[in-house]
Amino acid sequence: MKTITFSQATLEAMQEEMARDERVFVMGEDIARQGGIFGQFKGLPAQFGTGRIMDTPISETAIVGACIGAALAGMRPVADMHFADFAGVCFDEIYNQMAKIYYMFGGQKPVSMVLRAPDGLVNQAAAQHSQSLEAFFCHIPGLKVVIPSNPADAKGLLKAAIRDDNPVIYFEHKALFSMKGEVPEEEYVTPIGKAKVVREGKDVTLVSYSMTMNLAVKAADMLEKEGISVELIDLRTISPIDKETILNSVAKTSRLAIAHEAVKQGGVGAEISAIVAEEAIDCLDAPIVRVGAPFTPVPFARPLEQAYRITPDKIAAAVRGMM
């Protein structure tokens, strides 16, 4: 094991996959000259050339559309969205083309590409640079959606995403890039579609992902001290959803809470809740509780952004309320 940042972990994934497969290339805004706004592409142009790490025009529809076309013509593109918030600019390309081409054309050729989307709250970036939009993508058949919470998964899931023949949306929380964590020395991939039981527990299942997973861990620590034993699940992939891991856990704990940074209404938590309410309601000894952002755009001012944020306290309070 070695200890590296989340940003470095994604960088290693890119290096290894680009070295392994010369069809892999990246396009995005301000990634070559600068190395990416979070350093996540640093050094790649020197290693692979600006022919494979390409600075694009400010043209998100062309970035995604061109990646789809390049994939159909035999390449394995990685598109960088710069900020996940900009996905709306190319949303037609994402759900009407990228996601549908394989099925709609009867399986002639998959769209083997990855869309990297740095998301989430950081540094009071306000309404248009702070969003967690992953729920949109979970409602789109044909996409796979992964969303790591730590450096090890960041590397393993990015490698898996690049190798996957299907289009994969890779969310990477902006506040995670500087997070350090242990990453195996040897080569590995993290399987897409498999959640991870991060900590076993018996009183309540707490499901989360991305940045919020780390807050959930803190909440679980707090609860543990109060005698509440929390089983922690990191979804890692949010489409397709690993129902089995969730249902197994709920069968054991009889309680379910879900926490994410996105607004609660229509969030991924709703789907997880609905799956359990549909398939395992008899197991439940308490309401299913969701912790998500209030239903507003992300406000700029510090106290408002603070109040908007999910915190370990909020998660812990929600779980406490279920006992």
Binding site: T56, P57, C67, G69, L72, A73, N96, Y103
Partner: protein, 334 residues
């Protein structure tokens, strides 16, 4: 830099065309025309469902362009995609079966007319999203450049589609990166119910080429020779790595926007007049016969062959089975 878009006519003497090319022109145009008439009939008979947009009257454009393409070149088509698909060399049987929604269709019956595609001949798909193809063609061209082939990609688009933002983003990217992609405008005067000049701010779509520093060329899209020659020049230029271009083919949408369109926005007479004056097929026949470049007999042989092929395709489509319900759940992921 300010370059007027160039208007080009066919200049190559007919004698310089080899017989294979002339045959390809005629066979392809007749194949498209007859295919479309068959589709129209079976749509009205209720055997072909969905939204169907016919290419009748525009055959010279797809044909003249595609005569310059290889199987390994790519095209991105539009909602009006049958002509492109046929001209790119797709098998009529699987095409027709697709339109009938049969399991033997090129998309296994999952796509239909608006989503016809045949990757085996480089036809990367019709599109229900107007303007959806620009950026994907640009990406296919980028791939060819990265793969160091001299292949090209052609993005077909209508006059109406020229107002989508995707046009702009793709054109700029292709020009900035000198990608081998041709933006092929089929200006058929209409965007659904809208005469194109009422919502498009220029007389010629090719005027827009200047804004990207690429050549813009205008041809009579109903003259297969003119289309062929202009496309040849721009495609060869692209193959040499000299970058993208816009080729605007002026043509006319003879049929309604979709099969079943009540066409309340124009008169039958207007359309009839255009058809009589511009129908690319009689024009071709007259020209080659006059120049003795082909004989009546040769033309007839081709027509007979096309009819046979089409009859077989129709038979294949009609007798093929519908997909099993289980197919619904298959093929979402690899």
């Amino acid at each position: 830099m300010c370059a007027m878009p160039v208007r080009k006519e066919a200049t190559l003497p007919l004698a310089r065309y080899d017989k294979e090319t002339l045959k390809f022109f005629y066979e392809t145009m007749v194949k498209i025309r007859n295919f479309e008439l068959t589709v129209e009939k079976f749509f009205f008979d209720g055997e072909i469902p969905g939204f169907v947009h016919l290419y009748i009257g525009e055959e010279a454009t797809a044909t003249g362009v595609m005569a310059n393409l290889r199987k390994t070149d790519y095209i991105q088509s539009t909602h009006r995609g049958h002509g492109h698909t046929i001209a790119k060399g797709a098998d009529l049987k699987h095409m027709m079966a697709e339109l009938f929604g049969k399991s033997t269709g090129s998309c296994k019956g999952k796509g239909g007319s608006m989503h016809i595609a045949d990757f085996s001949v480089g036809m990367l798909g019709a599109n229900g999203i107007v303007g959806g193809g620009f950026t994907m063609a640009t990406g296919a061209a980028l791939a060819q450049k990265m793969q160091k082939t001299d292949g090209v990609a052609v993005a077909f688009f209508g006059d109406g589609a020229s107002n989508r933002g995707t046009f702009h983003e793709a054109a700029n990217m292709a020009a900035a990166w000198k990608l081998p992609v041709i933006f092929l405008c089929e200006n058929n005067q209409w965007a659904s119910t809208t005469p194109y000049r009422t919502t498009t701010s220029v007389d010629d779509i090719a005027d827009r080429a200047q804004g990207y520093g690429m050549p813009g060329v205008i041809v009579d899209g109903n003259d297969v020779f003119a289309v062929y020659e202009a496309a040849k020049e721009l495609i060869e230029r692209a193959r040499r790595g000299e970058g993208p271009a816009i080729l605007e083919c002026k043509t006319y949408r003879i049929k309604g926007h979709f099969v079943g369109d009540p066409e309340m926005y124009r008169t039958k007479e207007e359309v009839q007049k255009v058809l009589e004056e511009t129908d690319p097929i009689p024009r071709f026949e007259a020209k080659v016969l006059k120049a003795k470049a082909m004989t009546k007999k040769e033309l007839e042989t081709i027509r007979t062959r096309v009819e046979k092929e089409l009859a077989e395709a129709l038979e294949f489509a009609r007798t093929s089975p519908e997909p099993e319900v289980s197919a619904l759940y298959e093929g979402l992921y690899v």
